[in-house]
């Protein structure tokens, strides 16, 4: 066998890169579990099982080596990202269908690891959002606001059968103390705007008690913490998350200046919904993102702009998945136009002679 130079390598590997992403997701997952209960864990377990099994089976059908591919941990990361994005206590088959679609259709049918143009977890998520909009927007209230919280066994029963041990549906758990159905802060705003309410009235709702919504702000801060870990370990580069967050802040600030009554403010944008999960864990998926330095800045900024625009004007409360998929589509084009200046190549800006 012919060994090409170099004969030494740095001690990094795809499987380690992926594993670091998994570790970095732990704080965010813990925060979600704290505020939303056992459903988060059930979703994760279901997604991981279905993703790994789908990956193994499709690889087998494609006559590809199974063990080596599973060891790269990429299916595990897809599973975790999808699991974290799903509403807790959505029926188990939601997680299952999303996982199968993400791995089989969005990843393996394109050629598997490295060949998928779209982020598999987000493909799975969007499929579910479009197919099962009710189940996919039925978020539980964060623990501090919940009238009653589901025990482990009630949660498991809800997850598997749609009813708790006493026969109540999920909606029972979604009422708050005032007897209203709880929604996520972004959902709350979206519905409020469409009914003609202004920010002043909407933001007095108990959901918005702190700076970006009870629970959600802590979830976002926890994902931010994980993101900082990824940056520190050089698993991701800063370009995509930073440009995405700056774009979100700038665009939403400008929109607030224009219409302060019915647009979501920068802080709410950055610390609510899936923003931090999206910025550090989803948009940074290298396979489907832009690969040049300049391209990554554009890619991230594009996602940020789309998120703000879709959240304000789109039909769905959150927008990270749509924004990421839209920019995935643009990535090859961005890469083409953002090639770095090669050593010794004539500089693109013409020299000024006087």
């Amino acid at each position: 066998m012919f060994n090409s130079s170099p004969h030494q390598r740095a001690s990094n590997s795809v499987s380690n890169v992926m594993l670091q992403v998994v570790y970095a997701a732990i704080p965010g997952a813990a925060a979600l579990f704290y505020f939303f209960g056992w459903g988060v864990i059930f979703n994760l377990i279901t997604c991981i099982s279905f993703c790994l099994v789908s990956e193994a089976l499709t690889l087998k059908l494609r006559s590809q080596p199974t063990a080596a591919a599973l060891k790269d941990n990429s299916a595990l990361v897809t599973a975790i990202l999808l699991g974290l994005a799903l509403p807790p206590l959505a029926p188990w088959w939601v997680a299952a269908i999303g996982s199968i679609f993400a791995i089989v259709f969005a990843k393996q049918l394109y050629g598997g690891m490295g060949y998928n143009p779209f982020n598999p977890a987000m493909c799975g998520y969007v499929l579910l959002l479009i197919s099962f909009p009710v189940a996919m927007t039925a978020w539980l209230p964060p623990a501090p606001l919940a009238e009653q919280s589901a025990s482990f066994t009630d949660s498991l029963s809800l997850f598997l059968t749609g009813r708790d041990l006493d026969g109540y549906y999920l909606d029972t758990y979604r009422y708050n103390a005032d007897g209203f159905t709880m929604a996520t802060p972004l959902d709350q705003l979206k519905t409020g705007y469409s009914m003609g309410f202004m920010n002043d009235e909407l933001l007095s709702h108990p959901v918005f008690t702190d700076f970006a919504g009870v629970g959600w702000q802590w979830v976002n801060l926890a994902f931010l913490l994980g993101g900082i870990y990824l940056l520190a370990r050089k698993i991701i580069s800063w370009h995509i998350p930073v440009s995405m967050l700056i774009a979100m802040a700038v665009v939403s600030a400008l929109m607030s200046l224009y219409d302060s009554g019915q647009t979501i403010g920068p802080i709410m944008h950055c610390f609510s919904g899936a923003t931090m999960l999206g910025a550090f864990f989803i948009a940074t998926d290298p396979v489907s993102a832009s690969t040049t330095t300049k391209g990554r800045l554009i890619f991230g900024a594009g996602i940020g702009i789309f998120v703000v625009v879709i959240r304000n004007y789109g039909g769905y409360p959150d927008a990270v998945a749509f924004a990421v998929l839209l920019m995935n589509m643009a990535a090859p084009l961005i890469d083409h136009f953002t090639q770095p200046k090669v050593y010794g190549s004539p500089s693109k800006t013409p020299e000024v002679h006087d």
């Binding site: 590997s13 580069s237 290298p286 050593y343």
Partner: protein, 520 residues
């Protein structure tokens, strides 16, 4: 490291990318350079830079050390000299020190143990000789770039430049032959620098060296200071951070001057000439000692080497002789060159050649085992590491898809094959191999195209010529035909006249006859 003199400076320029692999220099740079005993047989591949050399001696002939035994017709080849006295015992197929592990024509000298030298011709008072004489001397001595490119030095030296840059970076891990040479032969190197400055009409010299060689820096500084007391010299030492591949010619230039060599051009475009330390020492040997290039310093290192260090080895010495003489243990793999750009040797009967700077006899797990490459995840680590600011992930994609036009668009030919991309790749893809493949394919296609173009031109010319000949022939025929016709016509006109006259006569006669008949 500001020592209050103007000899040493730390450059603040940077290159894009680069990596910092484990240096592994301490194993081999602790002891002085030792002479390796001359082997019983010396083997000389009749190749220089993959182009054939022609032997100038016959099998059975006795040769002396330093005698020319082969030369090349092409400008890019250099003379080959006998490394010791002995008999030319064969010209035969032998393993080559080449990545392909192929065999090729080699000239074999069986040493007689006398190590008798051909008369050495040092150039007396070199600085008073015309440049041409020095260049010819260097040409005769068979000196070529000992940094690895083995481009004939006299051709490079023929250009006139502003600045000489001495490549003393030695950025590859493991290799320490230049380091030891600088520590031990600093003043000889300064003499060589003066000679090259004279040859290239250059005004100044900068020695580019990585900051992991403080002893070499100190030795050079001392030698420069000593020499400065005697003569006015502008030689400085530019210290660059230890970061692979600072010793790439283009990278070193950028690190020291902040300028980039324009694409598809040579350093002379910037008024620069770059020579490696070992090459300079060879120039010193040739001009001052009258000794052609018959030996070089080779680093022997690796976990299997029980006596790692630097050895002065006669060119042509089989590598297994080097390993035997140094009691090297059974090794796992053996690499010629450094771990980043060297190649694995399969047959150790292959000899040391001018490009051989290092032999790594690697122990178990010392070098990375080739592992199953995974798919590229486009993480971009390679682009961050690339010293040429290329996009290795895209080049890989296009090379793999055999989309060679695209690889060219993405500047494949600016790749210096340093291996930084493959070193960082988390998917363990042998990227450099893909680039070499693509380059070879493109060169082959270009050659094919050139041949096809030439053939097409020949064909077109032939068709044109045939057409022209045909036309000319037709023209000639036409002319001839016309001539004949004219001739025939003019003849015909005469006949017509005659006929008319005859007719007239006949008519007159008939008339007369009729008149005669009616009157009678």
């Amino acid at each position: 490291m500001n020592r209050g003199n103007d000899i040493i400076f730390h450059s603040s320029y940077q290159i894009h990318g680069g990596i910092h692999p484990p240096e592994n220099k301490a194993q081999s740079n602790q002891s002085p350079i030792q002479d390796l005993p001359i082997p019983p047989q010396l083997v000389y591949p009749l190749l220089h830079n993959d182009r054939p050399l022609t032997p100038t001696v016959e099998v059975g002939e006795r040769v002396l050390a330093g005698q020319i035994i082969a030369d090349g017709k092409e400008a890019t080849s250099a003379n080959l000299h006998a490394g010791t006295s002995g008999i030319v015992s064969a010209i035969e197929e032998h393993s080559l020190p080449h990545p392909s592990s192929d065999k090729g024509q080699c000239l074999v000298i069986t040493a007689d143990g006398a190590d008798e030298w051909a008369p050495r011709s040092a150039l007396k008072s070199a600085f008073e000789q015309p440049r041409e004489a020095l260049l010819e001397h260097i040409n005769q001595a068979g000196i070529a770039g000992l940094g690895g490119a083995v481009f004939p030095s006299h051709i490079k030296l023929a250009s006139q430049v502003e600045t000489l840059i001495v490549n003393a970076a030695e950025c590859e891990p493991y290799i320490t032959c230049d380091d030891r040479l600088m520590r031990e032969q600093a003043s000889e190197l300064i003499t060589a620098i003066e000679l090259v400055l004279y040859l290239a009409s250059a005004k100044q010299c900068v020695i580019g060296i990585e900051d992991n060689k403080p002893e070499a820096i100190a030795a050079l500084e001392e030698a420069i200071q000593l020499r400065k007391k005697e003569t006015d010299l502008d030689i400085r030492i530019g210290v660059v951070p230890t970061r692979y591949p600072s010793g790439g010619e283009k990278q070193l230039i950028e690190l020291l001057t902040g300028q980039q060599v324009p694409q598809n051009q040579r350093p002379s475009a910037l008024g620069l000439l770059v020579h490696n330390v070992a090459t300079l020492y060879a120039i010193y040997q040739a001009i001052v000692l009258g000794q052609p290039l018959i030996s070089r310093v080779v680093t022997l290192t690796g976990d299997a080497a029980t006596k790692p260090g630097n050895y002065r080895v006669r060119l042509g010495t089989p590598i297994n002789w080097l390993l035997e003489q140094t009691d090297t243990q059974p090794y796992e793999r053996c690499v010629m060159g450094g771990p980043m750009m060297g190649f694995e040797l399969k047959d150790l009967s292959a000899p040391v050649v001018k490009a051989t700077n290092c032999i790594i006899a690697a122990g178990k797990n010392e070098l990375s085992e080739p592992s199953q490459a995974l798919a590229c995840i486009r993480c971009g680590e390679c682009a961050d590491a690339c010293p040429a600011s290329l996009l290795p992930q895209q080049l890989y994609w296009f090379s793999r898809a055999k989309d060679f036009e695209k690889t060219r668009d993405y500047n494949l030919f600016d790749c210096i094959e340093c291996g930084a991309c493959a070193w960082v790749c988390p998917s363990h893809i042998p990227l450099v191999q893909y680039y070499r493949f693509a380059k070879t394919e493109i060169r082959a296609q270009d050659e094919e195209k050139r041949k096809a173009d030439a053939a097409r031109k020949r064909h077109e010319f032939r068709t044109m010529r045939l057409e022209r000949d045909k036309k000319e022939r037709a023209e000639r025929h036409k002319k001839a035909a016309e001539k004949r016709k004219n001739a025939a016509q003019s003849k015909g006109e005469v006949d017509e006249k005659k006929a008319t006259v005859a007719d007239a006569i006949a008519r007159a006669r008939a008339k007369k006859k009729a008149a005669k008949d009616s009157s009678s």
